[in-house]
Structures are given as structure tokens and as C-alpha cells.
């Protein structure tokens, strides 16, 4: 009885360690993708506004920014859903995915939802 009980505890701890680690690492991948997509999108400037202001005003071309973020995320090939929200001075990328579990599936938890968020803003000037 003691051995069976101990085995169950050990199994549960191992399951948490394995599936938790996978979820943590997947979240990190999502965060890296979201960051890179937000940076790529924030580089899509409205050139007409930029040049007409003599380089003083940097606002986003929102359509191009959304397209750029979507293309960037697609290039990563990760199984995720993305929401890209834009404003003239800001882009926000939220990515969501799920990790299928191995051990926790036995306890009825078949997947762990994971999400990451990043935002970026265009700025005028710089090197």
C-alpha cells in the first residue's frame, strides 16, 4: 500500500515537472515570437505622415503593421492564434496556444493553455 501510494505521488510530481516544463518553454517561444512580431509591425511607418512632418512624426501604417505582424508570426510555424491590435502610435500582439499534456492527461488535463503579449511603438529619429 505504501509503495503504491508513494508511486502515485512520485508519478504526479514527475507529471507536473514534465508537462509544466513543456508549457513554460512553449510560453517562452510564444513570447519571443510576439516580441519579434511587435517589433516588425512597429517598423511599418506611415511614410506620408513621416515625410510631411519633416521626420518629426512617426505613426503607424496600421494595415501594413497588422499584415507584417501576421506574416512574421506565420514564418515561425508555431501552432498559435494571434490577435494584432493597432493604434497610430502602438501595436499590440497577443498570441495564444496550448500544450498537449503527457502525464497530466491521466488526471483529465489534456492541454495547458499558454499566452504571451507584446507591444511596441514607432519612434522618430535614432541612429
Amino acid at each position: 500500500m505504501l509503495v503504491i501510494g508513494l508511486s502515485l505521488v512520485v508519478f504526479a510530481i514527475t507529471g507536473l515537472a514534465v508537462d509544466g516544463t513543456r508549457a513554460f518553454l512553449f510560453r517562452r517561444s510564444l513570447q519571443n515570437s510576439a516580441d519579434a512580431a511587435a517589433l516588425a509591425a512597429a517598423a511599418e511607418l506611415d511614410e506620408a505622415a513621416y515625410y510631411s512632418s519633416g521626420g518629426e512624426v512617426a505613426v503607424l501604417d496600421e494595415t501594413a503593421a497588422r499584415r507584417s505582424a501576421a506574416e512574421w508570426l506565420q514564418s515561425r510555424g508555431l501552432p498559435l492564434k494571434a490577435e494584432v491590435a493597432t493604434a497610430p502610435d502602438r501595436v499590440e500582439v497577443v498570441v495564444r496556444g496550448a500544450v498537449s499534456t503527457t502525464f497530466l492527461g491521466l488526471a483529465g488535463i489534456t492541454e495547458i493553455p499558454v499566452a504571451a503579449r507584446a507591444d511596441a511603438s514607432p519612434i522618430a529619429g535614432g541612429p
Binding site: L2, A17, R28, N32, D35, A36, L39, A43, W72
Partner: protein, 140 residues
């Protein structure tokens, strides 16, 4: 009622079965911890190297920046950079708006002895990839 020659038998069985469970478990957790450390370090290395390469002004500077960023990130993660492999490519080439792709791999040894570390044997390669974009308005 327990016979006198069975006294202590349950304790021995528990110890043996406990060892049988605990030794592989501790070994597996050690390998998992190493895999986790390797994955964290390689993903940080790929990310840093991607950002560094995307701001370099030439292929030679980008290559040097990638090597330096990878070494720094792996050392931060407690990993010897000599064991890792890093590669990068700018698609189509290092210019405004290009994609810079960096891949960093590190072998995690499956068989390790306590206090001695690595023992010859198979390795699990942990690989991370990051894609960064070169600023389309940057000065070159």
C-alpha cells in the same frame, strides 16, 4: 500475527522498491533539469543573437555579434559555449527589411554521474530558432 523470520521483511521490500523508483526518478529529473536549462539558455541565445545581428551593418559584424551574443547568453545560463552550435542567415541578405534567422543548438548529456558530471553516452540536442527583422528605415 507475524512469524519471527518475517520480521523486517516489509522494511527491506520498501527500501528496495523505493530505491527502484527513486533512483531512476532522480536521474530523470536531473536530465529534465538539464534539458530545461539548455532550452532556456539556447532560446535566450537565439533571441539575443537575432536582435544583435539585425542591427549589424555588415555580414562580418553580424557574425561577430552573433558569436558574442550566443556566448554571453549561454554563459549566463551556466553552459559552456564551446559545446554549442550557432548558425545565422539573413534572408535574402543583410539589408533593410530582411529577416535574420539564428539557430542555436546544445547537446544535453543523458548519462551523468553525481559530482563527476558528463559520462560518455548519447546526447539530446536542444535547438532554438529566432527570426528578427532588420529595421526597414535603418541607416546602413
Amino acid at each position: 500475527m507475524r512469524l519471527s523470520d518475517q520480521r523486517g521483511q516489509a522494511l527491506i521490500e520498501s527500501l528496495l522498491l523505493g530505491m527502484l523508483l527513486l533512483v531512476p526518478l532522480i536521474w530523470a529529473l536531473g536530465v529534465l533539469a538539464d534539458l530545461h536549462r539548455g532550452a532556456l539558455a539556447t532560446s535566450a541565445a537565439a533571441r539575443e543573437a537575432g536582435f544583435e545581428a539585425a542591427t549589424a551593418s555588415s555580414d562580418a559584424l553580424a557574425a561577430a555579434a552573433v558569436d558574442a551574443a550566443v556566448a554571453r547568453a549561454l554563459l549566463d545560463g551556466g553552459i559552456d559555449p564551446e559545446q554549442a552550435r550557432a548558425s545565422w542567415a539573413a534572408i535574402p541578405r543583410l539589408e533593410r527589411g530582411a529577416a535574420v534567422e539564428v539557430e542555436v543548438s546544445y547537446p544535453v548529456t543523458v548519462l551523468q554521474a553525481p559530482f563527476l558530471g558528463r559520462v560518455a553516452g548519447p546526447s539530446i540536442w536542444v535547438t532554438s530558432r529566432h527570426v528578427a527583422r532588420v529595421d526597414p528605415y535603418r541607416s546602413l
